[in-house]
């Protein structure tokens, strides 16, 4: 049983791993059932309506798509910025990125009103639509990261891996700009209509992607009883998470401050930050406190921040905060009424002048969560099939682990 290329396949793992994968498979099954339920009955069974047209499936889908480009970050740091400490995790980073994208697209597609017309979305394009451009960006991401992985894993192609890494880095920046622009191009909605959404989404992608990468790595460590990240790497990741989280907070602050400065946006800002019921509660409670301040405190803590437990806890909180952030952007932006008649109080039997009441249905939430399960199961399957996992490192306190006994090289 030899180890080749300092990487190995996931072979010898305990029942915990199987139980985890079984749980993910079950969630995916439930997600498919939820999608069938929604498609069969129509979207009236969801919490979505003609004012909040994008609900929880989009919260999860956009979250995963943004996370996908961020997950490639570790690979980018090694290839583009030539940081060797990250090189070991480049393969895992890349396969996690495509898996997260697949999970996000799975949710996005199953929430379409006419899923059966997917072929139309793949063959009929309106190139003035940023949505249509995103279809190319997503498929291009799969292709470019696939080539990048090939150049990393095939020795004869190794010399091209740096160039493929550059291409993937540029592509992922464009992709997240495209995702942010889906909202940024909407002049009609007061909460959107800002170019800041593109850089905000890029900063957020760094947080979500790195948090996912950390959690997958630590899950592998616990499953296999090995050490994949040394203390130095934990410190580096900790520093990056702090920088990225502060960057997201910065862009979020600037976005709201610029809106608050403009009198015409006082209403929507008041709604998002103070008076909008669930929306400000999610913003302050989930996005800011649980999803930003708390993880920052954990990461900045002189002892807890240096432990893997601290890192994993902070990562979980950052992902919860990320979902909260997407909820506030996507749901909050739609539930605030359209300002069709400035200076007037509008009422109608429909959407005019009312703050939409959106309560997500169980089916929507299950479909959304199943996207995460798709990403995790796809990553796990990939780890079992090809040599994506770096070989364990020897640490003083983990030297008793026998990596050879737990892992196997490529067949």
């Amino acid at each position: 049983m030899g180890l080749r290329d300092n990487y190995h396949r996931l072979v010898d793992h305990g029942p915990f791993f199987f139980a985890l994968m079984l749980a993910h498979a079950l969630v995916i099954l439930l997600g498919l059932t939820a999608a069938y339920y929604m498609e069969h009955n129509g979207h009236y069974v969801t919490g979505m309506n003609n004012q909040v047209v994008w609900g929880m499936p989009h919260v999860f889908a956009v979250f995963l798509i943004v996370a996908a480009s961020g997950a490639l970050n570790v690979a980018s740091i090694s290839s583009v910025f030539n940081r060797l400490a990250y090189k070991r995790f480049a393969r895992l980073s890349a396969i996690l990125a495509v898996s997260l994208l697949a999970g996000g697209l799975f949710v996005l597609l199953l929430d379409l009103g006419r899923v059966d017309r997917l072929i139309i979305a793949m063959t009929s394009y309106n190139f003035k639509s940023i949505f249509a451009w995103n279809i190319y960006l997503y498929t291009g991401f799969f292709a470019i990261v696939g080539i990048y992985l090939w150049t990393m894993m095939e020795k004869r192609m190794n010399r091209y891996s740096k160039y493929a890494g550059y291409a993937a880095f540029v592509w992922r920046l464009i992709l997240t700009t495209g995702t942010g622009s889906i909202f940024g191009f909407l002049a009609a909605r007061e909460a959107y209509d800002t170019a800041l959404l593109a850089p905000l989404f890029i900063a957020s992608s760094f947080v979500y992607g790195l948090a996912f990468t950390v959690l997958v790595l630590l899950t592998m460590c616990w499953t296999l009883g090995i050490t994949l990240m040394d203390k130095e790497f934990v410190q580096k990741v900790r520093g990056l998470l702090i920088i990225f989280t502060v960057t997201v907070l910065y862009f979020t602050t600037v976005q709201h401050l610029t809106n608050i400065y403009a009198t015409q946006h006082h209403g929507v800002e008041s709604y998002l930050l103070l008076t909008g019921g669930v929306i400000p509660a999610v913003f302050w409670g989930v996005q800011i406190v649980i999803g930003s301040i708390l993880p920052l405190l954990i990461l900045a803590h002189p002892t807890l921040g240096l432990t893997r437990h601290g890192l994993s806890l902070a990562s979980v909180l950052l992902l919860i905060g990320g979902l909260g952030q997407m909820y506030v952007i996507i749901i909050g932006g739609q539930s605030y009424p359209l300002n069709i008649f400035p200076g007037m109080e509008a009422t109608s039997s429909w959407i005019d002048g009312r703050f939409a009441h959106y309560v997500p249905s169980l089916a929507e939430i299950v479909l959304g969560v199943s996207g995460i399960s798709i990403a995790m199961l796809a990553t796990a399957m990939a780890l079992k099939v090809l040599r994506f996992l770096p070989n364990p490192i020897e640490e003083n306190n983990t030297s008793k682990n026998k990596p050879e006994a737990k892992t196997a090289g490529a067949a």
Binding site: G42, N49, G113, Y125, G343, W350
Partner: protein, 247 residues
Amino acid sequence: MSTSNKQTADLARRRFLSGAVALGSVSIASGFTLYTASARPKGEPASSKIRWGLLIDTGKCEDCNICVEACKTENGWEGHRGNLTDPQWIRKVGLTDKRTGKKQSLPVMCLHCEYPPCVDVCPVGASMKRADGIVLVDRHLCIGCRYCMMACPYGARSFVHEKVTNQKPYMPRGQGTVESCTLCAHRIDDGRIPACVEACTKSGREAMLFGDLNDPQSAISKRIVQVSTTKLRADLGLEPNVRYVNF
């Protein structure tokens, strides 16, 4: 007569009849000519020489629902759940001026923008603008992504949230697709005016004026020259073909 000859003869007869019926002026209220109408011959594309539009006089618009009911009857849409999942191609909006307290009532539907954002954002090209300015959704192409609904500043579009029944043969609808006011394109193509305009005029209110904005001799063009009109959300530069007066 062979089958193909018979079909050709039938088509020619239908064209002649529809043209003969529709040619000339369409008069709804006595002595009031709305617009000079002619049916568009079958198979002939809509012309860019025409730009259909509506002028809604909020001074004449009363707190009634006649236009909404006419649209429902004509196009076969109706909500069953009494909430925001119901379709609403046209709605009556009550407005109160925050400073003066002045109250108004007016209908809002698809404003058939000259530069429609719904058409810009539709990934598959299902949202489209006809050459004569009517903005439509091709329900055979629509994938139900609802991005057009996110982009419309007027909340004019509905997503079909449930199965549809009692569809009109000229107005196909479908669960999972987006729909909105078609300006009664099927009626216009037959040389008739939109159902809401017809109902409003018949009721005696005459708050809605329909016609060709490109024709300087049309009643709507003449009225637009005479009065100051309002384009909703004019700041967005979408140039809606539905305008308001006395607003």
